[in-house]
Amino acid sequence: MSLEYSITYTAENTYENWVNDAHWQFLIIPQKNDNQEFIDVQFNNSLNTINQFSVNGYGFRTIRVHPKKKFKQISFEAHFKLIKREVNPFDFIEEEDISQAYAHIEELNFKVDFEAFLRNTRFTTLPEKNRDAFLLDKNISLFENLQALNEWTYTHIYFKTDVTDVNTVLDEVIENRHGVCQDFTHLFCALARQNGIPTRYVSGYLHQGNSLFGDSQMHAWAEAYIPKIGWIGFDPTNNLLANTNHIKIAHGKDYTDCSPLKGVVYTTGRNETSHTVQVSSQQQ
């Protein structure tokens, strides 16, 4: 069975003074993959400048906008419609001999192939004293360990908005024990990588059920690589496995590789920016 999702993304930027030159790059288009298929991508900006569809350095689709005249206000509106195959996150066969996966992740070839997702970045570096905060239990499978890590992360920090931002590093998150989805995800990635499990940061949309308005925010979760199974999505903010409601945009080593909007704007004075996201679904 599959579901059709509609996503609306809007952003509005207002500047106190004229902007003479600006470039934006949006990383907001849902990824095309085995579970996500497109039917429609629409993107408009209020200045009617051409929208350039391209890819970023990691191969994910982007939209770039470069207005050709000066302005003080610009708004963007994107509509995506896609069909998602209904996923059962438990739909895979675990190896009978659980020790094989542990041996596999120790191999040099494996470590080299997944080097980027085993590396610590600015946002996934644990404070020295917390390196052992989560250790693998080799009596249970790798997948079960990751589920335990998902739950550990979920219970270890409290969801609280406006206390962290895009520059928050793990030292603060661990110290204060609160944060938002990207902090949960960075912590999950850091601890999984610390245990030798390749893990990537995923940005996307979360459909929070068919309420009347279906309002949502952009969301972040993690994907961990289990030998012979592949990448499995873990959502430590909600203590869930990523499922049909998780619509993936991009992945990377951390938030930096996935930030939804990058811009270079030449202006002076104050500016205000805001964005909204709506996700709704209907059964096909």
Partner: protein, 487 residues
Amino acid sequence: MTTAENQLFSSYQRNPLLFDEIYDKDGTIMSIYSELFDLYGEHSIKDYVKLNDKAKASFFNQGITFQVYDKNETKEKIFPFDLFPRIIDPKEWDIIERGAIQRSKALNLFLWDVYHDKKIIKQGIVPMDLIGSSANYLDQMVGIDPPGGIYNHISGTDVIKHNDGQYYVLEDNIRCPSGVSYVICNRTALKRALFGVFNRYKTYSVTNYAENLLDLLETVKPKGVDIPNVVVITPGMFNSAFYEHSYLAKTMGVELVEGRDLFVENDFVYMKTIRGPEKVDVIYRRIDDAFIDPLEFKPDSAIGVPGLFAAYKKGNVTLANAPGTGVADDKAVYTYMPEIIKYYLDEEPILNNVHTYHCSRPDELKYVLEHVHELVIKPVDEAGGYGISIGNKLTKEEIETVKKQVKESPRKYVAQPILSLSVHPTYIDETESFEQRHVDLRTFTVLGKDREFVLKGGLTRVALKKGNLIVNSSQGGGSKDTWVLKE
């Protein structure tokens, strides 16, 4: 002619412990220098100073200057120049040239590998750390096939002559090696001042560098392009090497641009001109990786071109050198060069490597900490001679500070024995006479598709401070014209 009769060199003092390039062990002038020695000897010191001052003035008048960065200020200086040239014997040059090509090709294959299958790491020949903890490894380059298969189009291989008479490579510069404009300007200045000496020696020309560079850059044009439009991009007139950027553009006959002169539309790069946009196919970029595209790398870069990397990834433009080459000129990679050459080319290294201790290895770290006074300690990721400590020149307190730094981040440092660089007679203003000064040689190798070129000559850099071993211009070095003789 004996030394006493030679006015210019009569007061030249030779330290028998140093390897002097113009005298042999017995104090006889090397045959290759004998005619030059006599020719120069006809002049008095006074005449020589006059000529030297004229040459210096011409550098200033042409604006051939560079800037020195200090904590508090930047200064504009001319690159101190010396009219007494260095001569390289054809047989020795042959070794240097073949060695430089061999290294450049091996590094190019190494770069291909670390951005594709990473076989050399999987086979355990170099450690994974070399890419994993290198600040210059660009994940965005993984899987990209640069046009013509070339990453390090331009390599600056620095070699020195040790007191055993052999050449050793000090480092491979494959980000944006600079200095080639000085090679050509030094030659021009020497020709102006003492053109007569060139009648007695058959010296290879160096002025063909630009045309060869352009030819080879054209061989790595993007697919589907007939006659490529080449440009040189500079960070701007305040960059220390701006003179060189403008010189290269001028002599190649191509446009010199800044980031704001280019724009990207639908993944093609265009230059703004008064006739409208003009497509650009090959960019010789003299901007560091981190600054080339604010949408992909450093977001506050004001000197890059937004969208440039996407155009590169799509294969619509060639960047020379390719982004991410810095991972291979890391000083830790240098130490594996013999293995890297053997692995990719199945050849023995033609040029020697200096033995290097990796502070990241516990046993080698221990040795380094115990022998700081007899080693050169270098940070692995700094260029331009910054952050180098020479053990036998440090005070006790300084040794302790260095030890502390190394202990805190061992991966950041390598150490090498203190080499005895050869010396060359160099005119010193303060004493108004020729004195022995240490020299090295920066060579320039250009790789194109199935073709390569080494500039026959190079930049001989002189450490002007007595006893100093650091020759970089930013550290108070000077330079000399360098002659490669025809057989």
